[in-house]
Symmetry: C2
Subunit: 108 residues, 2 copies
DNA sequence: CGTATTTGCTACACTAAAAGTAGCAACCAG
DNA sequence: CTGGTTGCTACTTTTAGTGTAGCAAATACG
């Protein structure tokens, strides 16, 4: 398998455009959620599992690996956490949270 | 199946928090891409299919249905397009595109 | 030291989701 | 009527994700 990183082709787009790589990554189940849960603090594998509704370890491990390859998260003695770049992406998720609230309100 | 909308529980979160509903939707394959492709102009079913790397009609149809239920896209004589709310989400995707470019650059 | 717990992770059998191909009914243009 | 386009559905095959069990390594404690 080709390593997943900006510049390489991804599912549904062989241009390697960064946005395509990113959408490819985020379009996989639990990817967004994992980043979301890591915004506030570092978490261990099992803590993450709990927060993500007991996601199966198989997928969690795969997602963590992929997200690490993309340098969006890293791992140290305190568990998993966002890199600087992941943090920045987290800000976008926060903006998305704002949007989502308004979105939900306009359609009650 | 429970209709997918803010306020109702989703995969991995029974709180119905709007961000969870949104992440649940966007975390499905092709959802982000479809919104992305509809940013510029309305497209027919088959045009969308072409732009999304020949996505299978089965999934395209399902995604379109889901996105319509969430009022992010709609359908008229000119095909499928973003609603006002979808447009707003599209702006966030545009911001994400900016981010992605910088992200890719810092790791060449 | 021994042993108990927690760490990240893997194996495996199972189910759900997506892919790929074909084709249909409704609509319109010529 | 014919030929093309529309959105969509019915299949079968392949891929992705689930659920459960458990392992080796590291840490904590007596």
């Amino acid at each position: 398998m080709t390593t997943k990183k900006p510049g390489n082709p991804v599912r549904g787009s062989d241009t390697g455009r960064p946005i395509m790589v990113l959408m490819d990554m985020l379009g996989q189940r639990w990817a967004l959620r994992i980043l979301w849960e890591l915004r506030e603090s570092r978490l261990t594998f099992r803590q993450l599992q709990q927060r993500c509704d007991q996601i199966s370890p198989t997928v969690l491990n795969r997602r963590l690996k992929e997200l690490r390859e993309l340098h969006l998260i890293d791992h140290d003695g305190n568990g998993f956490g966002l890199t600087d770049q992941g943090e920045e992406l987290g800000q976008h998720l926060l903006a998305l949270d704002d949007y989502a609230k308004r979105w939900a309100n306009t359609r009650k």
